[in-house]
Symmetry: none
Subunit: 150 residues, 2 copies
DNA sequence: TATACACGAAAGTCAGGGAAAGTCAATACC
DNA sequence: GGTATTGACTTTCCCTGACTTTCGTGTATA
């Protein structure tokens, strides 16, 4: 069995044992008990516990540091997932506006959130990057924001 | 639990017990009851109770000395304006995190909004633009989002 | 009486070390 | 060719101890 699978298994076990769908680990400790390099943990987290997979990671360095893995429970948020998946590599301002308006109308987000997202991907906000990057950037930022709502 | 967390907790407790949002401590005494080096108190104050975080510190040395921590309460819009103005042309991920956490702790934004903003300016979201633009972009996007809340 | 000075009791500063997580490029394994 | 794995290096955060600065007070002296 592969190391990455062992690590994945262990994290899932912790998540299942938790009422709150939260697993908190110490990187070096876990790496030790499993017997792998600490950085391997990062690899597993960044390849299998991404927001796209329905997980949120937060961490802290230094003494008493930790890594916290939250599993997101899919309910009506699968609608958001659907929207996220429908957004490609790039998105133009017009389509962006439509996506946000749809979210608002379908009640997935409230007015305040919609305005916030619109502000984040507005033309004004993106003037500091060259035109050729903007559609990529807009897609990426929009997707990350939508995922954060899950 | 980390010492810095204990100290933080105790100061917050004192602040919450105070009508005036003022906590007054004696450094050596607090260090003693908690069981840490006195200078550790300074560390906590300078890392978690800064003006950026919405606190003002004043102190006095010598016999009968003290440290006074004041929590500043601003109106929401002026506080947001203040934060926006304090953000320059560029902002690095670290400072960004502090700004957003600050907004959260001071109640300017709720948890959901904080997560949304963090997602919008996360490193992951910005991978599609070259490194040299990211700090400019982050500043711009963050400011636009904050302004949209007013 | 008034001034100066000494001394102790606080808080402040800073360099340094240790503990943890993050990053990345190179390599190994399907 | 893509996925795993590692190790070296970096960054962030925590904590301490030695030393410095500031303040109040008591005391000696002109």
């Amino acid at each position: 069995m592969r190391m990455s699978d062992l690590i994945t298994q262990e994290i899932l076990r912790l998540l299942n044992n938790s009422e709150m769908n939260i697993a908190e680990i110490q990187r070096n400790e876990l790496a030790n008990t499993i017997g792998c390099a600490p950085s391997q943990i990062n690899y597993v987290l960044s390849s299998r516990f991404t927001p796209e997979h329905g997980y949120i990671i937060e961490s802290r360095r230094g003494g008493g540091g930790y890594i916290r893995i939250k599993r997101v429970v899919l309910s009506q948020s699968s609608a958001l997932m659907h929207i996220v998946n429908s957004i490609g590599e790039t998105i133009d301002p017009m389509t962006t506006r439509i996506v946000i308006e749809n979210c608002l109308e379908s009640g997935l987000v409230d007015g305040k959130t919609a305005r916030l997202m619109a502000a984040a991907v507005s033309g004004n906000a993106m003037q500091s990057v060259p035109v050729e990057f903007r559609d990529y950037l807009r897609a990426s930022v929009l997707k990350h924001m939508l995922l954060s709502l899950i």
